[in-house]
């Protein structure tokens, strides 16, 4: 079993790259707060989705279960971003 032939390895690599992009790129002052926050939480939702599908193996789960779990990161991101945009500016 070569680690490089495993799908989870490529998923892990993509998650690491996305983490570095959001932590040390998108969160710097180069971007407006709105772009940074929306980008951070959409990327977080995508990362959670891939953890669910490939690490938790929900890709092979019964469709209703998969759909409920896949909805969670996007519902959470929508709630967080909704409150963020509604909050008064500092």
């Amino acid at each position: 079993m070569s680690v490089l032939r495993e799908r989870v390895t490529w998923v892990w690599l993509a998650l690491v790259v996305l983490t570095c992009l959001t932590t040390w790129g998108l969160s710097q002052d180069l971007f407006s707060p709105a772009v940074a926050v929306v980008g951070n939480f959409l990327i977080a939702a995508v990362k959670v989705r891939y953890v669910m599908l490939d690490f938790m193996e929900l890709r092979d789960a019964p469709i209703p279960v998969r759909l409920v779990f896949e909805a969670w990161p996007f519902a959470v991101a929508a709630i967080i971003l909704g409150f963020w945009f509604a909050a008064p500016a500092v």
Binding site: M1, L15, V16, T23, A44, V51, I80, V90
Partner: protein, 196 residues
């Protein structure tokens, strides 16, 4: 052709025992409610939350994320090894998961001690109350997951797990990935969310 087509379709299944998925679902809902309540409190005083957020160590938080992602990857590889009866590969992959879990706990302890050394406690203000509560509940999950991975590592050294005996490790792995994905949301929520 019908037979060939049906042979190519993987049966739909959830890894591990069903009970662990009920727990994962319930835990996800609870954390969702906690995130919502955090945002409600932030809505009342975004300036305080923004000023307090700046005192958190973003680099350490990012490294914590990389540690947990690597831990999840190692455990996912261990489950793949079990499915293929590659019993000799399992112990070091499970040990990798447990050691990285321990690394996360050490990192979080350093962060807590830095806060306490600066006189910051959960009572300092609402942001820090949320910071210690959310990271504390998550840390309890990490402690439980690391303990379970250590147990799996010890058992795997005796060749306990293979493609027929993987319900327990699959359940623990699913829980461990939950710990990972909760941190993926917690990290930007507490450390990266700039104010408008």
């Amino acid at each position: 052709m019908g037979v060939a087509a049906s042979e190519g379709v993987k049966p739909k299944r959830l890894p591990g025992v069903e009970g662990v998925w009920v727990f994962i679902g319930a835990d996800s809902v609870i954390f969702g409610i906690l995130f919502l309540t955090f945002m409600q409190d932030r809505f009342k005083n975004p300036a305080l939350f923004e000023a307090s957020r700046h005192t958190l160590n973003m680099n350490l938080g990012g490294i914590d994320t990389l540690i947990l992602l690597t831990s999840s990857w190692s455990v996912a590889l261990a489950v793949q090894a079990m499915k293929r009866d590659q019993i000799d590969r399992e112990p070091r992959l499970l040990l990798g998961g447990a050691v990285t879990g321990l690394m996360f706990m050490v990192s979080k302890s350093i962060e807590y001690f830095q806060k306490f050394a600066h006189g910051i406690t959960p009572g300092t203000n609402p942001f820090y109350m949320w910071y210690f509560t959310l990271t504390g509940i998550h840390l309890a999950h990490v402690l439980l997951g690391t303990s379970l991975l250590t147990y799996l590592w010890i058992r795997s050294r005796r060749g306990t797990y293979d493609h027929l005996h993987k319900a327990v490790p699959e359940s623990v792995a699913s829980f461990w990935h939950l710990v990972d994905l909760l941190w993926i949301v917690l990290f930007p929520l507490l450390y990266l969310m700039r104010a408008a």
